[in-house]
Subunit: 322 residues, 2 copies
Amino acid sequence: MKEFDLIKGYFAKQALNRKDVIAGIGDDCAVLQPSERQNIAVTTDTLVEGVHFPRNTSAKAVGHKVVAVSLSDLAAMGAEPAWISLAITLPIADELWVKDFCDGVFELCEYYNVQLIGGDTTQGPLSVTVTAQGFTPLEKHLTRSGAKSGDWLYVTGEVGDAALALQDILGNVDIEEQYKASVRKSLDFPKPRVLAGQTLREYASSAIDISDGILSDLKHICVASGVGANIVLDDLPISTVMHDTLGQDKAVELALNGGDDYELLFTVSQDNKVGMETALANAGITITCIGQINSSEKITTTLNSQAVSIKKQGFEHFWYPG
Amino acid sequence: MKEFDLIKGYFAKQALNRKDVIAGIGDDCAVLQPSERQNIAVTTDTLVEGVHFPRNTSAKAVGHKVVAVSLSDLAAMGAEPAWISLAITLPIADELWVKDFCDGVFELCEYYNVQLIGGDTTQGPLSVTVTAQGFTPLEKHLTRSGAKSGDWLYVTGEVGDAALALQDILGNVDIEEQYKASVRKSLDFPKPRVLAGQTLREYASSAIDISDGILSDLKHICVASGVGANIVLDDLPISTVMHDTLGQDKAVELALNGGDDYELLFTVSQDNKVGMETALANAGITITCIGQINSSEKITTTLNSQAVSIKKQGFEHFWYPG
C-alpha cells in the first residue's frame, strides 16, 4: 500500500471543515486563518507504545487518547480547541489499524469541532505525536503560576481510576469483573475537561491538568507560583471502585501518585469561590475542594485533621508528557 | 537525571525571544499572538533514526535537519517561519546528546528568527517530530496546484548531493576523500530555501520542496495541478562531485530519484519569468530552468532533445514526509 493512499483514504476523510482552515491536508503546509483578537495556545504530546499506553491498546483508543491528552493541555490553559496536526510512526502500513486509529481521532475531534490539518506518517516503532492548537481571549489564559496563599484547591471529576486500570493490566490488583471495563475506559478514553477549562478562565488563579498524578502536578503549580499546599485526603474524590478494590488508604495513595487522570487541578481565591462553583455547577461539571494553598513552599497532607506523611513524590515518567 | 532538568537545562535555553510569544516553554501550552491580517502555515515532520537519517548521524545534525525539513515545507508555501514545537523520543536521557541536538536546533532557529515554543520528550526508539508555523499574507501562499500548461519548471541550487552522501554511507559509491565532507554536509545540514519561497510568492504558479526526489515531487505538482511536464535532463543542476563520482547518466538518475535535497521545485508563467529571475538574482539565489509544464498529465524527460525513458518513478519513503 502506498503512502498517499493511506493519507487520502483515512486522514483526509474527516467530515468536519472549519471555516478558518484555508488549506488542510494535501500540500506542504496547512494554511490557517487565526481569529482576530485572540491568542493561540499550542501543545505537543507524544505517546509511545509500552510507555504511555499498554501494547494491547486498541488503535481507536490510541487515536482517542493522543487527541484527548493534547486537548486536556488546551483545557488547562482555558483554550477553545481548533486544529490538530498528527505525526504517526508505525512498524508497518497497517490499513485497518490506521482506520481504527482515525475513528478514535475523528470521534473526539468532531465533538470539539477540531480539524485535523495535516501531519506525517513514518515507519518505525509505534508512537503518535499530536500538536493541538486553540484560542484564548487576549490576556485571559490560565497558567500554573497564579496560585496565592489562601486560595482553595479543587479538582474536577474523580481521580485514580486510570491508574487503577494500569495496575490491573500489570497484575498488581484484582478488580471485580463487573468494574473492569469501566475502569479500563478511564485509562483508554479519558475525557479532556475542555468546557471546565474555558469556564475557569474567569475564576481560577491557576490550573493544570493531571497527567502525572495530583502530587506531581500540584508540585508544578506550587513551584511556578512560589507557594505550598495542603491536601485534605479525606476529601479526595475517589471512585467506589477504587475504594472497594484497594481500601481507603491504598486508594488515596494511588489517587495521589497515579497519572493519566486528565482532570483539571486548579486554585481559586476566596472571592471567586462562589462564582466559580456556580458557573461550574451550571455547566454540569462536578468539582471537589481538596485543600488549600499556603505560603510554605511544601506540599503536605492531612487525614482526619492530622498531618500524615506522603509516601511518594509522584509517578515519574521518563519526561513530563505535557 | 530528572525530566525537568533536561527541559530547563537545554530546551529553555534559547536566547531568542519573539514578541509574539506571550508564553513559551514551561506551562501546559505555549501562548502565541498571531499577526493581524496574516494566515498561518503549519507543517509537521518526523525523522526516525535508521529511516530518515543514518544511525551514526550527529545529534547536532539531527537537530538541524528536523528543523530544516520543516522550514523547507514552510518555504514551499512562501511562509515566513515563526515558531516550532518539538517532540523528541530518546532511548535514554542522554544529556550530552540533547545539548548537541539543541545546538543544531537553535543555530538554525536563530538564523531564521524562529522560537522553540514547547514540546515533549518521551522514552523510546530515537525519533524527532517538529511542527513548524509561519506567516503568509492573506491569499498569497504558494501551492502545488497552480501549475499551468506552458509554465516553466525551475529548481533552486543543485540537486542530488544528499542522495550521493547516502549512497556513500551505504557503500554503493566511491567518493573522493576531499569531497566526502561537503557531500555529507548536504545530507546532514540541508539549507531550507526560506528566502526563495517568500520571494516566489509574487511570481510562481506552484511550488514544492524536494524531499522525495525531483520525479516524485514533480508528480505531486502535476497531480495537484492536473498537468504534465517534461524535464530537460541536459539542464539538471548537478554538482561537479556528482558528475565526477557517478558519470553523467548515473548522476542524472540519482538527481531525479534521490531525496533529501530540500531545494524548491517551482513553476512560473511566461509572463512572470523575467520578473522572477530578476527577483531571485537580486536575492542571490541560484536557479535553473529544467523543463516545462504541458497538458499531457505525464512526466517525460529529454536528453539532447531526444525523448528518453525514466528508469524509476522516484524514491518511495514508507510515507511521504511532508
